[in-house]
């Protein structure tokens, strides 16, 4: 709500119960924070004029999207984490300003470079975000799982093709913005923009590893392998 928050708690433990799907997601988490990098990002963000909150309260519940993403990427939880909030209201009446998330991405990149970390940068958000207002019984009923409508699907494909084709930052910004307008995309909250900014808006083809729907929303797993970029 105010500023950008950086989790600076050395060890985050607790139970993350997802408020909207508590029947599907209740996770006991226990992970280490890279505190030096967390503070470096906070310092860098403040240096760029952003309002920052250094979250040091160990009793704060870590959100399900952070936990879910980390579980999928590294379920051994043996790599320290820095988690950041997205200060952006992704819902009604948001005009989706992305400028602060661009700056936060810059701050993230600067801090990673300054601390010499080898980091994986993860953004969690859906693509098209129109979805069903009823849940099938059981929720895993795959006969009920498909894209909300063809319009949403086509726009998701348009965005993924753009990412695959390795466009430059101006083109990508424009397509991300158009995709938000067309699909109520969760990228409106700025995670994708933050990640691309943290990666320095790489002009390289992204690797689209998967695409699928969740209660009608579009979702992709997309990778930018910066190591591969440097080798080539």
């Amino acid at each position: 709500m105010v500023g950008h928050h950086v989790n600076c708690v050395p060890r985050s433990t607790g139970v993350s119960v997802e408020p909207i799907f508590p029947h599907l997601f209740r996770y006991h988490y226990d992970f280490q924070t890279d505190v030096e990098l967390a503070h470096a990002i906070a310092d860098s963000a403040e240096g760029l004029g952003l309002t920052v909150g250094r979250m040091t309260n160990p009793r704060l519940r870590v959100d399900y999207a952070t936990i879910g993403s980390l579980h999928l990427v590294n379920d051994s939880w043996d790599i320290p984490v820095v988690s950041l909030s997205a200060n952006n209201n992704p819902y009604f009446y948001s005009d989706a300003p992305q400028d602060q998330m661009e700056l936060l991405g810059e701050a993230t990149r600067t801090a990673i470079e300054a601390t010499g970390r080898r980091a994986i940068v993860i953004a969690s958000n859906s693509l098209s975000h129109m979805h069903w207002d009823r849940e099938p019984d059981p929720p895993e009923d795959m006969s009920a799982e498909h894209i909300y409508n063809q319009h949403q699907y086509q726009w998701d494909m348009h965005l993924l093709e753009a990412l695959r084709s390795g466009l430059g930052p101006d083109d990508l910004r424009s397509i991300i913005s158009a995709h938000i307008e067309a699909t109520a995309s969760e990228t409106k909250a700025g995670s994708l923009t933050w990640m691309l900014s943290a990666l320095g808006w790489p002009v390289m083809p992204a690797d689209v590893l998967a695409y699928g729907t969740v209660i009608g929303t579009g979702n992709g797993i997309v990778e930018w392998d910066m190591g591969k970029s440097m080798i080539s």
């Binding site: 105010v2 928050h5 139970v15 704060l60 959100d63 009604f92």
Partner: protein
């Protein structure tokens, strides 16, 4: 907003808090159960109803964790009879309903803060439901009608609490309490206009202006809380505007209706 429970409040927080506490005291003997809808408990699939018997613990707010008011102890007792009646009436109205009974479930800041002020110590039981993020105003009206029907069916005297806000422009800096001020003059003007209408019993005009208010002042959850309250049938008399002020720039008020 949890600021109303602050140890060192801004003037406006203190006035809002005082109004809510006094209202809670006035109503305590006339209420069997507090029936709560909070815009901060938002869902996307139908409506969720809290059915855990005794939600309690310490809630740390995601934004205000660094302040004394960002860490809230809560001790709530659910009214199972009223809640089940509300679930039944809401399901009968055609909504997707979900019972929520999970250890560690994150009770929202709005519900906790409101109950701390109106219902200290958790003396009276609570029935609470989520606010569907995408439910149109007409659906929120129906949820209010279902709440009213549940009160009749359960025989409970309810105190209806809509935890919401007016304008939602938030200052993007960390403020000291003495720096508290409304986000903009435009938001202040809109808030006062809405409160004037509510205070003179012109709820229908507020309902007509709701969308415009939402656009102009980024009203909390498109101000659909007023539709919910209207649906309960309780807004038949002029509202008693007990306090108005800002909370980190947002517009906040305590308004009470006694059914005529």
């Amino acid at each position: 907003m949890p600021h109303l429970t602050a140890d060192d409040p801004a003037v406006s927080w203190k006035e809002l808090s005082k109004a809510a506490i006094e209202l809670g005291r006035e109503l305590a003997d006339d209420v069997d159960t507090w029936l709560v809808v909070s815009t901060q408990w938002f869902t996307v699939l139908g409506f969720q109803f809290q059915t855990a018997e005794h939600p309690h613990g310490v809630h740390v707010d995601e934004n205000w964790y660094a302040y004394d008011y960002g860490e809230l102890e809560y001790d709530l007792h659910t009214d199972p009879t009223l809640t089940e009646c509300w679930i039944d009436s809401t399901a009968a109205a055609g909504f997707d309903v979900h019972r929520t009974d999970y250890e560690g479930f994150p009770i929202d800041t709005g519900t906790i803060a409101a109950m701390m002020l109106l219902n200290p110590g958790g003396r009276k039981p609570v029935a609470s439901a989520s606010m569907n993020l995408y439910a149109g105003p007409e659906l929120m009206t129906t949820l209010g009608e279902c709440a009213s029907l549940a009160a009749v069916n359960s025989g409970k005297r309810i105190g209806v609490v809509a935890v919401s806000g007016l304008s939602t422009g938030v200052h993007q800096q960390w403020l000291r309490p003495q720096d508290e001020r409304i986000f903009s003059e435009q938001h202040d003007t809109w808030n006062r206009r809405i409160l004037e209408l509510l205070g003179t019993g012109r709820v229908n005009e507020v309902l007509e202006l709701r969308e415009q208010f939402s656009q102009a002042a980024a009203a909390d959850s498109q101000f659909r809380a007023i539709n919910f309250l209207a649906g309960t049938g309780l807004l038949t008399a002029p509202g008693d505007v007990r306090a108005y002020g800002s909370v980190w720039g947002t517009g906040a008020a305590v308004v009470h209706w006694t059914k005529s």
